[in-house]
Symmetry: C2
Subunit: 248 residues, 2 copies
């Protein structure tokens, strides 16, 4: 939880926005050891595949999370904008959508669609973190759900980093497989600006601003926890019940 | 997920019970490296305190989880029995209850009640795992919620282990602080027998029996994930954002 400090009036939008940006700058999962290994070309093929398979669970939860937000939202103007996120992930018309792009990333890495969809590789710790986000949005007031999406402000940098180093460090992955990162490198930033505008306007009291920082911290915790589970399992070779064979 | 295998008829209750026991025998968190360090006297005082503080979040979620189960249960006879669990944890009459006993465990370890209640030490990974259990019971049919409690079948052994080694290995912890383990060493077993009886009767088709094993596996995942988060944070010194100081 962000520390509560006694204030008499809300921060200016500018200062509040700076606080949100600072929190993400310091704690976005771009700094997680697992991601740092990815960015320095130090993950092997199986570790990459396991990351793709675990992230898939996050991907498929997003349109449902956004549908839950729509369900909680009585504001038709907001719904008209927010529904685009569901269309972007599930696809519409000729656009296969983000989930389709992730399935192609899987194929480019040597993971079949059926394997990804069966979720066989999804770690419990990843599932619990992703579900925490889904449940939060389902159970929260819709402005809070929008605020929780603001890690997208920091996503373009991580996608651009991957677009830069994967072709060099993981040349065995076909370039077309990286289309998801290409989509999100710009899309995430545009969507985040919408979410930010709503957040800056709604969270306009000291208490609400502290709440917004708590919510962003929670979402940063979700992303960091996902990588914690993957680090323990795939870098430290301690997946769940790794020592089961020694049980008498 | 437990592997689905084609079967034409349900296992006998005896065989089904044996499968449940075998799953727990192999995967109960008594085998987790964090717990093995605890059992061999190799945790330091701060690690013990952090475990107590994180487990507290699990403790306080239990009566609410059981209330959610009651809310889903239209069977008055079951509710008359199951409500005892809420009374046991929250306390009633002269019995302070399990949560009170855990607060006293905290005090015996040098953790103040206010600190435990403030949940300052609760790791995100622990919170997400515990909340996954709470949400499961809230969102599931009540027999499934009861089935998820069956890790209690394996709990007496772990409480008895602690009662045996803590006085020897952690003599700085006052004996009265271990009352929670004393309560649960017998209580958990009795409660588990009730849950087991319901489970053996209700899960009486091949599909339902596979489902019960999936549910037990899920609950084992919850407990193991909690210790994964604690191991990473307190044994490997990699709590969330441990490297934040190096962010430019």
């Amino acid at each position: 939880m962000a520390t509560m400090h006694p204030v008499t009036e809300a921060d200016s939008q500018q200062h509040f926005e700076a606080r949100l940006h600072d929190l993400g700058r310091r704690r976005y999962h771009i700094h997680h050891p697992f991601h740092r290994l990815m960015a320095s070309g130090d993950l092997d093929a199986e570790q990459i595949r396991n990351w793709v398979a675990n992230r898939f669970y996050y991907q498929i939860s997003i349109p449902r999370k956004d549908a839950a937000l729509l369900a909680n939202c009585p504001d038709r103007d907001t719904r008209r904008v927010w529904i685009q996120r569901i269309l972007d992930q599930d696809g519409s018309g000729d656009d296969g959508g983000g989930i389709e792009a992730w399935l192609r990333l899987g194929e480019a890495c040597g993971l079949g669609r059926e394997e990804l969809r069966a979720q066989r590789r999804v770690l419990p710790g990843v599932r619990f973190a992703v579900d925490a986000y889904s449940h939060f949005v389902r159970d929260s007031e819709w402005h809070e759900g929008i605020c929780a999406s603001l890690t997208e402000l920091f996503a373009p940098a991580i996608h651009r980093q991957r677009l830069e180093n994967w072709p060099r460090d993981y040349p065995w992955i076909e370039s077309a497989g990286l289309d998801y990162f290409r989509r999100r490198a710009s899309q995430a930033g545009r969507e985040a600006e919408q979410g930010l505008a709503v957040t800056l306007e709604w969270f306009n009291t000291p208490e609400r601003q502290e709440r917004a920082l708590q919510i962003l911290q929670f979402k940063l915790d979700v992303l960091w926890s996902m990588l914690d589970a993957m680090y323990l399992a795939y870098v430290l070779d301690m997946p769940p019940y790794f020592n089961e064979a020694q049980v008498p």
